[in-house]
Amino acid sequence: MDFVLPVLIGVLVACSIYLMLSRNLVRVVLGLSLLSNAVNLIIFTSGRLTRAIPPLVAEGGTLPPEGYANPLPQALVLTAIVIGFGLLAFALVLTYRAYQELGTVDTTAMRHAEPQFDEPYDDLSEARAMRHAAERGNV
């Protein structure tokens, strides 16, 4: 296992970076989720890979018996999974919304916030003004 896990982490990181280098936003999000899983494995291995007994205190005792596994990395991994899950959910919803609103998942085609210099520049402000005016009932 000492050999397998690092190799697995390496493969996961390599795959995720390959995916994130894509211009396709869906691939980027998939790469991010893969990367967060690789990191969870890193934390898991940082608690040392041992065959050990569960860190449970026996009835009436105050300390767990000798040779117990370190429970902390697992708590950390659990927290990281939860947070990663929340972030991934947001990322997916945002990607979906971006596809709906902008009509593309190609990140180089997303230039609404930073238009190129030859494009009409006040496009940003105008759209905002219309939107806000409509919200305030002035149109």
């Binding site: 936003l25 967060s36 990191v39 890193i42 919304r97 006040d122 940003l124 402000s125 759209a127 002035n138």
Partner: protein, 521 residues
Amino acid sequence: MSATGWPLVLPIITPLLAASLAFGLRRWPLLQRSVSILGMAAMLLFTVQLLGLVADHGPQAVAVSTWTAPFGIVLVADLFSALLVVVAAFTGLVVALYAGAEVGRGRESHGFHPFLLILLAGAAGAFLTGDIFNLYVWFEILLMATFGLLVLGGEKVQIDGGVKYMALNMVATILLLTAIGLLYGMTGTLNMADLHIKVAEVDDPAMLTVIAVMFLLAFAIKAGLFPLFAWLPASYHTPPMVVSALFAALLTKIGVYSMIRVFTLIFTHDMAITHGALGILAVLTMVAGVLGAAAQTDMRRVLTFTVVSQIGFMLIGLALMTRMGLVGTVFYMLQDILVKVGLFLAGGIAVRYAANESAYGRLGGLWMNKLWLAVVFLIPAMALVGLPPVSGFWGKLALVRGALEAEAWILTGVALAASFVTLYVVGRLFVTVFWKPAPALTEAEAQARAAYAPTRGDMALMVPAVTAVAVVILGLGIFAEPVLALVDQAAQQLLDPTAYITAVLGPDAVPPAPTLIGGVR
């Protein structure tokens, strides 16, 4: 260690509870707004109380739920973090006040105020935690809230900016998590005070430096350092100005705070590499930021780029690791939070008079009929450049003096040159918005602008908010002495973490002074 530690807990849970309450009241905008403002005011009160406690009795720490350090999670406040939470709470209050005039019913009913309050809770948590994994958790809470605020409203530009913000910030948090995992693997602890001790005992300093650089990378993305700041100018100008103000003021500063905390408390074993890299990044960030600002011709985007360049200034003191340098860094950071709120909010009022258009060609003519606005804009603008008598001057003076004392000529030269370019940027901005005649408008445009200008009710919220910030910036400049004295103590605590460690682990835990390799101390 205070007995039950409520002064440390209250600044975090007050906004959290207010957020829940504000969400429950989302159908009653006025009530919700009041809860938001009152929550911020209460938070400000608690943070000021905490600052008083820390100033009188030194760093405070509390082991949450009585799991003692270094095993449980601790909350710690030294002067640096106590000062920062006060300024953050003040920022939150100003933004909550101003928001009523700016964000509109739609956004308010979709959770603007809860997000705002959760963001503040996350900021307070990040400033006050003494546990590095907990720092990561607060970062994530903060990130979730900023995601919400950034795309709230769902305009095209917001979604576009949000995508880039999301992607790069997620990479940063994953990097941070990796670094934390590896550091835990090497030291077996997550408590920052304990890490200070354990890091000195590590027998593989090269690996430790690699981990330090991973932390540096993660926080560099968060703080918007060159060359990792691309997400910042891509997204900060897209939400309403009040959200931009909040982001510009707080988010990057939390990255800088974490950097300062980690590179003064934990990674001081190989300063030639880590702090040397920070110096180079500071120089490049200053240059890239001001040049970006000089190249833009849209007020929102110019202001956004000034956020980047100012981060470079803040890092000077950390790169030097001298007392004068850190005084400059801490003071500059504190006042820059206020400066960014002031600039963005005053700018927000200015664009309201131009129907929310912020391109240079569409602005102008406000000097004649909105003189007060020119004044409240000019005060933070002067602080941004570093002109006396406002607060930015003292920060820059300490930074430049620190750099000169350490004989860091390149840092000094670039800081001064970047300040000159900032002067040009701010001058052009001011001339464009206020002195240049207003652009010729068609009948329809003029009507649209009139309909769009802030109403009397809007003004009742905007004016006090913006004026309060300007007054504090001016006050910090004129009566800098007592604040500088506090900041000096804060810098001392950063340089010599004995008090911090004693507060967390007790007096027996403090190790003998570590031997520094290649330090500039």
